[in-house]
């Protein structure tokens, strides 16, 4: 079954880094979102996996996670972030993120995390 | 890394003899390197100090501050600094300057940078200490001169009383103070009688001598809390806080008396002169100090009209 994936990051380069790191042989349909609003809109249409940046202009990644919880959207979320403070990671996990990946994205790390959580 | 191509000098000798303090500590804060600069200025040779905990060997050091500084370098892996302008010194060493200029100890700039150990991790912090005493002395001198310059621009060059601008600033402050806290405030406006004649007939130098003498009399007769200014030419003003009209009049009379008793002296010759004075007291109806000055000015005008060499208090004898 085709995996529905959303990559959310206000930076084009940031999105490209994640896209490049996705397994080449994946059967996935990938949508891109540039801000919190677009991310939520895409989520409401239904998704199997979300890569979420924390630092976005309108809503932060934390806001998005919060709103997902409020709206009852259950989509496994990998936070991909430049904000690497220990508390940022804790907070993301508390808000329901499945994993936290530091930027710049390392291909092996990302794929290993995907495998860990059954996305291979 | 900078390395000589041929076998170069002994780098440990370089570290030892360079004219900058070098102290290296490990993660346990033990001293692993102590160069000659440090030995010479501290009086503690390396063999007594290397291997010891830096805080035990030098209990005078600001321990909490230094621990935090070292911690930040070990943790973050990049340089930290300390400037003599914020913290005069790290190690209290005597300085070698003949002129102290109020400097009791060597002023120091410090750099703290990480050094890797054999495993490649940051194992050490190197503290370099630069003697900045000269710079600090020059800086302090410069600051003093600038301050004097600022004072100069607030004062009249000849009499050393405040210039008009500064007087008005001070008057405003006193006026505001009275508005808030109540009490009395008076001003006296004085004008040297026939000053133009003195200048024309006896020369400008004589005129200057008269002005200086008047300023001296003012300084003698008035309190430190009173503010005196020269308004240019032959006009002066006095601001007397906590003084009512009567008090101001008495003060004015004492000044007038002194001028009578003690003439100015120029080139060995006595130069007599008189002043006319207008006095007014601030009342609650006045919106600003200009209103107060205006009344004093009117009173001064009346003093002139009435024959000079006298004091008129605004509001008396139907004056308005």
């Amino acid at each position: 079954m085709t995996l529905s994936v959303i990559v959310a990051d206000d930076s084009t380069l940031g999105r490209k880094q994640v896209l490049r790191a996705l397994p080449a042989d994946w059967d996935a349909e990938v949508r891109q979102a540039k801000n919190g609003e677009e991310t939520l809109a895409a989520l409401r249409e239904g998704a199997d996996l979300l890569f979420l940046d924390l630092t976005m202009p309108d809503h932060t990644g934390f806001d998005v996670l919060q709103m997902m919880g409020d709206e009852g959207i259950a989509c496994p979320t990998f936070v991909v972030s430049a904000d690497v403070q220990p508390r940022a990671m804790e907070r993301a996990k508390e808000l329901g993120a499945v994993s936290f990946i530091e930027k710049p994205v390392n291909v092996e790390t990302l794929q290993a995390r995907l495998a860990e959580h059954g996305f291979r | 890394m900078a390395q000589a191509v041929e076998p170069g000098p002994d780098f440990s000798a370089l570290v030892e003899n360079i004219n900058v303090g070098i102290v290296v500590v490990n993660r346990d804060h033990e001293i692993v390197c102590w160069n000659r600069f440090m030995a010479a200025h501290s009086g503690q040779p390396a063999d007594e100090v290397v291997g010891a905990n830096i805080f035990t060997a030098f209990p005078e050091l600001p321990e909490r501050w230094l621990r935090q500084k070292l911690r930040s370098v070990f943790l973050l892996g990049h340089q930290a600094f300390s400037s003599w302008e914020q913290r005069p010194y790290l190690f209290k060493f005597p300085h070698n300057r003949p002129i102290t200029g109020g400097v009791d100890a060597m002023r120091q700039d410090c750099t703290f940078f990480p050094l890797a150990d054999a495993s490649g991790e940051t194992g050490y912090v190197c503290i370099t200490i630069f003697d900045m005493t000269d710079a600090s002395i020059y800086q302090e001198r410069l600051q003093r001169t600038t301050q004097e310059l600022e004072e100069l621009s607030a004062r009249d060059r000849l009499t050393w009383l405040y210039n008009r601008g500064q007087f008005e600033t001070e008057l405003l402050a006193a006026f505001r103070h009275r508005e808030r806290h109540g009490g009395h405030l008076s001003v006296i406006l004085l004008d040297i009688d026939h000053f133009k004649t003195i200048n024309d007939h006896q020369g400008h130098d004589t005129g200057d001598a008269v002005l200086r003498h008047l300023a001296a009399c003012i300084r003698n007769r008035f309190r430190v809390s009173d503010v005196a200014g020269r308004f240019g030419g032959e006009e002066f003003a006095l601001c007397l806080p906590e003084t009512d009209a009567e008090g101001a009049r008495l003060a004015a009379q004492r000044l007038r008396q002194e001028i009578h008793d003690e003439p100015a002296v120029h080139n060995g010759m006595a130069v007599s002169f008189t002043v006319s004075m207008g006095v007014s007291e601030a009342d609650s109806g006045m919106p600003d100090p200009e209103a107060l000055m205006k009344e004093a000015d009117l009173a001064l005008y009346q003093a002139k009209e009435a024959g000079r060499d006298r004091i008129v208090v605004y509001g008396e004898n139907g004056a308005s």
Binding site: A82, V84 | Q79
Partner: protein
């Protein structure tokens, strides 16, 4: 006339700064044991004549600021200005181990200088790592105290006519403390950074 960065280059610089900012925030938060809130970094080309205006438009700056300056060189040349609201240092003094103890009240200056050094050091090393360039930098010093922005970035005092301005803002939640770091890359460095960004973009 300096060419503006292309959209891709500007986006790449913003992302690279974002990562460097993240490192800086981690440094500061580890040292101070408190959470640092980050906003999206801003990148723009500015002329000396309207630099102050450009900064005021985008950042939420107080009327007057205290500025700490560090110059960097060796690879990329420019300066980093860290702007604080005057008096803000006291809110974080204790976090830096600078309570009023050994020498009486810690001077505001020392607190701001220390904070600035931590942030700028981390940002520059983060940028340097990603762009594969090096930085050496001067010790920090107070550049202006309680001064309006247009005097801090007074065109007559600036050594450049055009600069690439990168702005990042850090806020300490718990302490009502915000500071803005301006990284100004002067004309001759803009070409260097363009090349570095192009190298980065080539990977994608």
């Amino acid at each position: 006339m300096v060419e503006p960065l292309s959209e891709d280059q500007a986006d790449a610089l913003q992302e690279v700064t974002n990562i460097a900012m993240g490192r800086a925030a981690r440094s500061l938060s580890t040292l101070l044991d408190t959470f640092v809130t980050l906003a999206v970094p801003r990148v723009q080309l500015v002329d000396a004549a309207n630099a102050a205006e450009a900064v005021q438009e985008t950042a939420n700056l107080p009327d007057t600021v205290t500025a700490v300056r560090q110059a960097f060189f060796h690879g990329l040349r420019g300066e980093a200005l860290t702007l604080f609201a005057p008096g803000g240092g006291h809110n974080v003094a204790d976090l830096l181990g600078l309570d009023a103890d050994e020498l009486g009240d810690p001077p505001e200056d020392e607190i701001l200088i220390e904070t600035s050094n931590i942030l700028v050091g981390a940002i520059l090393s983060g940028l340097g790592e990603q762009l594969e360039t090096q930085f050496s930098y001067t010790p920090p010093s107070i550049f202006a105290t309680n001064t309006p922005m247009d005097r801090v970035l007074n065109p007559d005092d600036l050594e450049w006519t055009t600069a690439l301005l990168v702005e990042v803002t850090f806020t300490l939640e718990s302490r009502n403390f915000t500071c803005h770091v301006l990284v100004l890359l002067a004309e001759n460095s803009i070409a260097v950074i363009r090349q570095a960004l192009d190298r980065l973009l080539e990977e994608f």
